[in-house]
């Protein structure tokens, strides 16, 4: 499967989070064939690639929603390979799924309460997040099902950020959002990084995501194809031709 002219993906020594040789799939169907991903503690890392590359499967596997067939994940030296998703937050890892990412029957305030299960000082954390997402403070007593798409996305991120995780996985943050909201969503993600939470995201809207990302991985056919800093990816004609469209 390997093309000889593809760069190997380097291992990063000072990574906060490392995934090595991830193999997994569904039933008999293998989707990932030895994927490596690293995230430093001050980075936004983007994983992108064509449809069916295994991006969403990778995110599920990294967050303990799918068992690993092979490979390891770790954060700050702690092995996460066997950790189930409902214990991830105790290890400082949060997750914002692409769809169904709020509790529709709960109010905004109650959604944040659920996020605060593993939060030491929920009140001050709320105040910090309302600075990032002031709209949520105006909607506190509304049920999440009544929110607009953009507001839901903010609530989903705020819920995941309540425990102040070291690392946040975000699955397709711009999916389904109106164009004018997409830019704002990536601004929010940049601020999440600046406030001390590293981000690993997958995103179809690669050009917009590269405006805030620090590094990126190209995933194709369940394998790493390419790794580089965001600027290199933006300027690479080969990547542009193969994965970004003209």
């Amino acid at each position: 499967m390997h093309n000889a002219d593809l760069e190997t993906v380097p291992e990063i020594d000072d990574a906060l989070f490392s995934a090595r040789g991830i193999e997994t799939g569904y039933g008999e169907l293998q989707v990932l064939y030895g994927v490596d991903v690293d995230v430093r503690d001050d980075e936004i890392v983007l994983v992108f690639g064509p449809n069916g590359a295994g991006k969403s499967t990778l995110m599920k596997a990294l967050y303990g929603r799918l068992p690993l067939w092979e490979g390891t994940t770790e954060i700050g030296g702690t092995d996460l390979s066997e950790v189930r998703s409902n214990r991830m937050i105790e290890h400082g890892v949060g997750f914002v799924p692409q769809t169904d990412n709020v509790f529709p029957n709960l109010t905004v305030s109650e959604n944040l309460d659920i996020g605060a299960i593993h939060t030491e000082d929920p009140a001050s954390r709320r105040a910090e997040l309302f600075e990032l997402f002031p709209r949520l403070e105006e909607r506190l007593e509304q049920t999440a099902e009544t929110l607009s798409g953009g507001e839901r996305q903010m609530l989903a991120m705020a819920r995941a950020l309540m425990p102040d995780p070291d690392l946040l996985f975000i699955d397709e943050p711009s999916a389904g959002l109106a164009p004018q909201l997409i830019e704002r969503t990536f601004e929010h993600i940049a601020r999440i990084r600046d406030d001390g939470t590293a981000v690993l995201m997958i995103e179809q809207n690669v050009n917009a995501a590269l405006s805030v990302a620090d590094r990126g991985y190209v995933l194709d056919m369940g394998e790493n194809r390419f790794e580089a800093d965001a600027e290199t990816i933006r300027e690479s004609e080969r990547i542009r031709d193969l994965y970004l469209g003209k």
């Binding site: 967050y63 929603r65 189930r84 998703s85 409902n86 214990r87 991830m88 937050i89 105790e90 997750f95 799924p97 169904d100 990412n101 709020v102 509790f103 529709p104 029957n105 709960l106 109650e110 309460d113 659920i114 996020g115 299960i117 593993h118 819920r159 995941a160 425990p163």
Partner: protein
């Protein structure tokens, strides 16, 4: 005219009292549906076991004679724990098979529990040790202090469940698990633990409904819970299954409708009125059974 109004108001009062008891049962059933997503046909047996346990603890057979309120509390706690045990033995192993296998299993569990009890206690009718009381009447309508107490216990239970769901972390995690179980796990909720606690509350509410029913409509037999299940289903579906506040309202409507039907149409068909409501909901408000979140 005066007699008509008196009778009508009296019927409404009986309907409200019965509706309040139905609502305790319906809320218990709907809470467990909310987190497990299957209709538990064994739920009626929790009513039966609650009534029989209260009976034994308060004077019949075990050599104990606890006051009925104390016996009721013990019965609620024991049946609650029993419900958790039943779910672990019969339902948890099937929990990823979808609602239909679980529903059919619950019918089997209902038979096992009912006939085990029948084998142990026989089919003869039993009665809780409750005193006969004169009604307290104002303008010709009223009820006995005992029935008033049943009503108050049922209302207090509804308030307690409201407080649980709205103000406690357990209640919020129950609602979150009901609304979006995947996200509940992602958010760090121990959803298996939430489901077990919900089983406890559900079975306990069933037991309480059984005792209250037995106080209102003594005597009872081992089939009491199963027979009343149709009424509880009607209330639960009317309110939209999985929605506790809907179940409370549905229960009051069913209770009042059953008593109006009994008074003005025929007392022969009390259960049939509940069944008619059930069929009506399924025919005309199918959204009611599409499920929902607590």
């Amino acid at each position: 005219m005066v007699a008509f109004v008196t009778q009508f108001v009296q019927t409404l009062i009986y309907g409200l009292i019965e509706g309040s008891v139905i609502s305790v049962g319906a809320v218990g059933l709907t809470l467990s549906y909310g987190v497990t997503r299957f209709i538990n046909f064994a739920y009626g047996e929790f009513l039966t076991y609650g009534a029989y346990l209260a009976l034994f603890l308060s004077g019949a057979g075990l050599g104990l004679s606890l006051p009925l309120p104390v016996a009721t509390i013990v019965a609620v706690l024991v049946v609650g724990a029993f419900g958790v045990g039943v779910s672990r033995v019969f339902f948890e192993p099937l929990s990823d098979r979808g609602p239909l296998p679980l529903l059919i299993t619950s019918i089997g569990v209902a038979f096992i529990l009912r006939y085990a009890l029948t084998a142990a206690v026989g089919v003869s009718a039993k009665q809780l040790p409750v005193p006969l009381m004169r009604p307290v009447e104002v303008f010709g309508v009223g009820t006995t202090p005992l029935r008033a107490a049943v009503f108050l216990v049922a209302i207090a239970t509804m308030l307690l469940i409201h407080v649980l769901l709205t103000y406690t972390m357990l209640g919020k995690t129950m609602r979150a698990t009901s609304g979006n179980r995947n996200l509940a796990e992602i958010a760090g909720i121990d959803t298996d633990g939430v489901v077990r606690r919900t089983w406890f509350i559900s079975a306990g509410a069933g037991a309480l409904a059984g005792v209250l029913y037995a106080v209102l409509f003594a005597p009872f037999r081992p089939t009491v819970g199963f027979e009343y299940l149709i009424v509880i289903f009607a209330a639960t579906l009317l309110g939209g299954i999985g929605r506790p506040y809907g179940a409370m309202i549905g229960a009051i409507i069913v209770g009042v409708a059953m008593n109006l039907g009994t008074t003005y149409l025929s007392a022969e068909y009390t259960m049939a009125y509940a069944f008619a409501i059930l069929v009506g909901v399924l025919l005309f408000k199918p959204d009611g059974i599409a499920g929902g979140e607590i």
